[in-house]
């Protein structure tokens, strides 16, 4: 049986026409993972994703650290989206410990989370550009990302690994002139983002290349349990920010971007629309934010949760991000599980790539908004 063999050893010839390609981990178009792809001519016969090259055992490590010291390492899976990946954990711990977050902290959290979504998505977009051979689309987002990173640096003090959210609020208040700088930079960023449409999303070659490739129908998207941009590109209106609003998202006007076709083009366009929506949300939040006030609840050292469990989820750049914390009256969580969007979307890969052309592989693979490090945890 081939099922007994480790994946890398399935190289014996089943058919002379079929060639096995190891796409990754040392391949410019794979990221930190391996795709074992069998091709018949130019067509992919089967695809077996083999993640785990950057598995760090975050869940096991979390069982050894208390609720506060877990913060810095739990954001490591996606350092570009570190606020969002920490968000459900912090919300869960707050529910476990029964903390009430100050209003200003909630708004600043939303701003930081949306800025982080922009930072992550621009990085993703840059790589999507270079995967399709569009080098300008690689450089522009990488440069414009600096605007959002600068804002986050002003807010949190770190460029990527912020460790900004803590149970009971945020680590420190925003600096004095943050609001003016933020609104100016976000306005400029939005202007830049709109130019991406001209050079990338309206590009006839890009449209011809990604349209009708790797189509994920609405039924399949639901059946496979996909999430985030992949789900919304397939026509399912599901965004945790509107369906189950956390913090102050229920007071903001969040528009969910839903596209219909579910092909690579729609999947690549949804994150871009999301970024534009993020700019809107940040502007609203800056307007409604209380101008002063406490941002953090005083915590007892080494807090303990009860005999309880909590499952919290937020909408990250890659989709719904859930954290399941089982507490057994100890300072450490008994079990912590991160249900991440990348891992949930991974199941689409063998499904979508089967029967696709080899040239479509990067277009389909990266349109899944997949982040190998997050999927491995």
């Amino acid at each position: 049986m081939t099922a007994k063999l480790p994946p890398g050893l399935q190289l014996e010839k089943e058919d002379d026409k079929i060639m096995t390609l190891n796409v990754g981990p040392q391949h410019p178009g794979s990221g930190h993972m391996r795709l074992i792809i069998k091709v018949d001519g130019d067509f992919i016969v089967s695809c077996d994703p083999d993640p785990g090259y950057v598995h760090r055992g975050e869940e096991k490590m979390a069982e050894y650290r208390n609720y506060i010291t877990n913060i810095p390492h739990l954001e490591r899976p996606v350092i570009h989206d570190s606020c969002n990946i920490l968000y459900p954990y912090v919300l869960g711990v707050e529910e476990l410990l029964g903390l009430e977050v100050p209003e200003r902290a909630k708004y600043i959290r939303v701003i930081a989370a949306e800025l982080n979504r922009i930072v992550y998505t621009l990085y993703w977009l840059g790589i999507y550009g270079i995967f399709l051979g569009h080098s300008t689309m690689f450089m522009w987002p990488m440069g414009d990302r600096e605007l959002a990173i600068d804002l986050l640096e002003k807010l949190t003090g770190a460029r990527v690994t912020h460790s900004y959210f803590v149970p009971g609020g945020i680590r420190n208040d925003a600096p004095a002139n943050f609001e003016d700088v933020c609104i100016r930079q976000v306005n400029y960023l939005e202007k830049r983002l709109r130019t991406y449409g001209d050079i990338f999303y309206d590009n006839p070659i890009l449209i011809a290349r990604t349209e009708n490739t790797g189509i994920l129908t609405r039924e399949d998207a639901i059946r496979l349990g996909t999430t985030g941009t992949v789900l919304r590109a397939s026509g399912v209106d599901f965004d945790i920010r509107t369906k189950e609003p956390y913090d102050v998202y229920d007071e903001l006007d969040v528009h969910t971007n839903v596209l219909k076709n579910g092909d690579s083009y729609d999947r690549s366009k949804t994150p871009w629309l999301d970024m534009l929506e993020s700019c809107n949300i940040i502007r609203q939040a800056l307007e409604k934010m209380p101008k002063s006030g406490s941002v953090r609840v005083k915590l007892k050292p080494n807090p303990k949760g009860g005999d309880d469990e909590v499952y919290k989820r937020v909408e990250s750049g890659r989709g719904s991000l859930g954290t399941y914390i089982v507490s057994r009256s100890k300072p450490e969580p008994y079990r912590l599980k991160m249900s991440v969007g990348s891992f949930r979307n991974l199941i689409c890969l063998p499904y979508l790539l089967k029967g696709e052309k080899l040239g479509n592989m990067p277009a389909v693979y990266w349109s899944l908004n997949y982040w190998p490090v997050e999927a491995d945890r």
Binding site: G129, G133, H134, G143, K357, L358, G359
Partner: protein, 432 residues
């Protein structure tokens, strides 16, 4: 205490100096003198005043500059100079290097970055030299199961074929390495070598990604050669010749792009595909097949392939200029050579020298070279621009463009050419 040479001793230093001198003398006598002998036997040395140039004559040239002019002339008009330096390889390599630098800076400006910046005092102008040195100094790794002779031969053959292509391009009136009556056919013959070399190298590497890349390159080049050749039928119909020099002569009044714009567009797109430039760089698509047929090349072997591909780029741009943009034709902008230097000589301090045989190259040649270079650079610019604007396309889209659209357009172009002649606009009695 010096960090660079912590154990410096004067005696060791003198010993190393004498050692070096010893080895230089030994190597020169053992290798240098035989080489000089071989050169003397096989190469026609320039003749001056009925006798061969000897060291004594060369020495006297320092004190009698007028003796140097015929010598220089005989060198410049020799075949070896033509092949190695001016219309041939050296000129092409220089333009190719300039192209690489311009491409990097241009792309950087498009992408809101600075590009090469630190190497060399001005704007990273020495970056290419640094890259070349790095490539030369790198170890050449050959896959264990590769077919070694073929694998070694492929980059060399690639550069050689590109240089052969360059040899056919006329740069100025009379300045072409090989002025063939059937120049256009020779161009197609040379282009036909590239897919073969690609397949040889990709097959001999015995690796999967080069193999896929080689097959893609084969598909791409073979299927785009057909529209490439068909688009040039219009040119031959209108000019009635296959010689590249005569095609240029025929465009004295009107450039052919005026009459055959469709042919020029078809030729340009096919050219991009033949050159494997974005958006047609599928054989090197790094996100799909690593580096395509270049995957297993390392060190200077990779450098040779890159050099060859940029020389090929220059040659194709030059071919486009020759065929559609009137080659060296252009208004005379180079000032005529001052007569008084020939009649009265150069006054330099206390010395007045009257030099016979000036000017070394004619005014037409300088003017032609200038216009040819300007036009070629413009065409190269248009070849480089798509890299910043377009993503890569897929192999099936590429083949469908080549086989369906471009071939149809090439036929349309041919009918336009025939129609122009039958309508009497061109040809005998027409405006041309």
């Amino acid at each position: 205490m010096s960090v660079i040479a912590p154990k410096f001793k004067l005696s060791y230093f003198i010993k190393s100096l004498t050692d070096n001198i010893f080895w230089i003398i030994v190597l020169l006598t053992l290798i240098g003198i035989p080489i000089i002998m071989i050169v003397l036997i096989f190469v026609d040395l320039p003749v001056h005043d009925g006798e061969l140039v000897n060291p004594f004559l060369a020495f006297t040239m320092i004190f009698h500059p007028e003796l140097a002019v015929p010598f220089l002339k005989s060198i410049i008009y020799s075949d070896f100079f033509k092949i190695a330096a001016f219309p041939g390889f050296g000129f092409a390599a220089l333009l190719a290097a300039a192209t690489i630098f311009a491409e990097r800076k241009l792309l950087a400006k498009m992408q809101l970055r600075v590009g090469p910046f630190y190497c060399g005092k001005f704007e990273g102008i020495l970056q290419l030299m640094g890259d070349g040195l790095k490539l030369i100094s790198k170890e050449i790794i050959i896959p264990a199961k590769a077919d070694k002779p073929l694998f070694w031969a492929a980059p060399v053959l690639f550069v050689a074929t590109a240089a052969a292509f360059v040899a056919l391009i006329p740069v100025a009136p009379g300045w072409v390495v090989a002025d063939l009556d059937l120049g256009l056919i020779a161009v197609f013959a040379v282009i036909g070598f590239f897919p073969i070399i690609t397949v040889i190298s990709s097959w001999s590497a015995n690796s999967k990604y080069p193999f896929i890349g080689g097959i893609r390159a084969l598909h791409q080049m073979v299927s785009f050669e057909i529209p490439l050749i068909l688009s040039l039928l219009g040119v031959t119909i209108l000019t009635g010749t296959l010689s590249l020099s005569e095609i240029v002569h025929a465009q004295e009044n009107y450039w052919l792009i005026v009459f055959l714009p469709i042919g020029a567009i078809v030729f340009f797109i096919s050219m991009l595909a033949e050159l494997e430039r974005i958006p047609f760089d599928l054989p090197e698509a790094e996100s799909e097949i690593v580096a395509g047929w270049l995957t297993e090349f390392s060190g200077m072997m990779y450098g040779l392939v890159q050099l060859g591909s940029y020389i090929k780029l220059y040659a194709f741009a030059g071919l486009f200029v020759v065929l559609f943009l009137g080659g060296w034709q252009g208004p005379m902008v180079v000032p005529p050579f001052p007569e008084e230097i020939i009649t009265e000589g150069i006054q330099a301090g206390p010395i007045t020298v009257q030099i016979a045989g000036l000017p070394i190259v004619s005014q037409e040649m300088l003017n032609g070279t200038l216009w040819f270079t300007l036009k070629t650079v413009a065409v190269i610019f248009f070849i480089l621009i798509p890299r910043g604007v377009f993503p890569r396309i897929r192999i099936d889209m590429l083949l469908s463009i080549g086989w369906n659209k471009l071939i149809a357009l090439a036929f349309v172009n041919m009918f336009i050419a025939v129609g122009l002649i039958y309508a009497g606009i061109l040809g005998p009695g027409g405006i041309w």
